[in-house]
Symmetry: C2
Subunit: 279 residues, 2 copies
């Protein structure tokens, strides 16, 4: 999906909500456990219920890998199902990968090439620690997106991301944003992870990357505020994908889990529509 297509989708649905499919098998409703593939059954119900209110879906690969081959199968089926709504959803592999060039290329195949791995997402999250040649191989896939970790939503983000680096006084997360330009990152092929729990730093981020989309985790269960994120993060093209995982998908653990998820997604979408109207 191109940047323009994503922007159109956001305006059409009046939403910049991304639903995080962190589908921990121990947390899904008990009545699904007899299904041959409980996690896929759960994901399908969540997708059906939230599709009118969300523009993106983001399975976090950890929750699938932890179940080995069974998990990989659930993921494959989930992606296949999402593909049937191709023009309506942007898909993100939340994988936080990164390795030396030759190896990153294989990680890229694992999320971008259905012919190789059975999976094809629109975008993948990538960790920047290993630098240019760990990121560039992901950028060689025409029409695909790299979402580079910049400022994450967790407590540990303070350990390194906030450190000021030499010469220019920028913090590490700002240095990551700046270096990405040298690697060929543009608003058409790159986004950045920026945690909602640190929305007061979005002004600093926007000074460096005014045009790029930001993928914003941390609203909901982690305590970030959508209003704050929008105030400091929105740009004229929206420029935000705000993720909620647990707050939506685990809104209820009973038979009405899908309706409860839809209700949560709807509430957020309504708030987003108001924020978009004010652009």
């Amino acid at each position: 999906m191109t940047r323009n297509e994503l922007i159109s989708l956001i305006h059409r649905k009046q939403s910049f909500l991304c639903v995080g499919l962190d589908s921990d098998i121990t947390k899904i409703p008990v009545h699904l456990k007899d299904d041959p593939d409980p996690v896929f059954a759960f994901n399908k119900a969540i997708i059906d219920a939230t599709l009118p209110f969300a523009v993106a879906y983001k399975p976090n690969l950890a929750f699938y890998e932890s179940r080995g081959i069974a998990g990989w199968k659930s993921l494959e089926k989930t992606l296949e199902y999402l593909e049937s709504f191709r023009s309506e959803v942007f898909t993100i592999a939340d994988a936080k990968r990164g390795d030396i060039g030759n190896t990153s290329q294989h990680y890229a195949l694992s999320v971008f090439s259905k012919a190789h791995s059975g999976l094809e997402f629109d975008a993948v999250t990538v960790a920047p620690y290993m630098g240019s040649d760990s990121v560039k191989p992901f950028m060689e896939f025409e029409g695909k997106w790299v979402i580079l970790l910049a400022l994450t939503s967790n407590q540990g983000s303070r350990d390194f991301q906030h450190l000021r680096v030499n010469e220019n006084g920028f913090r590490l997360f700002e240095e990551v944003l700046k270096r990405s330009f040298e690697w060929g990152g543009t608003p058409e092929n790159m986004m950045f992870v920026a945690g909602a729990t640190q929305a007061h730093l979005f002004d600093d981020i926007r000074r460096i990357v005014p045009e790029h989309f930001l993928l914003v985790p941390g609203v909901g269960a982690q305590g970030g505020s959508l209003e704050e994120v929008a105030r400091h993060g929105l740009n004229r093209d929206c420029g935000l994908l705000v993720n909620s995982s647990r707050g939506i998908i685990f809104a209820s653990a009973d038979h009405h889990f899908a309706e409860a998820a839809a209700e949560e997604a709807y509430k957020i979408q309504q708030q987003m529509a108001r924020l978009l109207a004010a652009l």
Copy 2:
């Protein structure tokens, strides 16, 4: 495997060689392609041939994930085969994972819990960018090891790892080493990745972590020198696992690939025996 067991193994085999099972299916010998699982057939032959000369095996998960479920099956079978030599080999999942706490826990299950994922390694490589709570969940598995990326072997390592961070003038890779102590990292449960291509910096690393094992990629195809690595990296307990991937496993692509791999591994082991004798 405990630290003492690993040290005993190194002395028994007179080797600190780790064989990197970066088993790219496009590079394995053509005659294996008719096997029902060519990658497992390749790995098994490589393991059989190099077992007398190597103390550790390190599949890089990218080369398995890029083949989806088929790749995951090859990996499972490879691990199962390595398990039959349990006291003779240390196993490393080269995965470079890291995410917020709840999610890292699932990544840990994917490499440390056979009951969950079908895979159980002794160790996993972890990326530090997201800080403490992205690393700690991996450390909660009794008897397992975290191998934290510090100074990698690739060109891109210069982008961030060498930057001097504020206050104390240490470089980012040194800051990673130091912070790991606060997270409960000890020489009994943590190692660090330190690239052979930057052996001149091992003195700086050893000033901060004199006792820890270092996992050293970059000897061979990437151009690092074993002599240099040993001069700056060995400690009284050896303290090194030096990895070679392509230089061993793709030493030949014909019918004699396993013998060629054994020959390369033997050459390195002989050099290592001399270096260990001089301790």
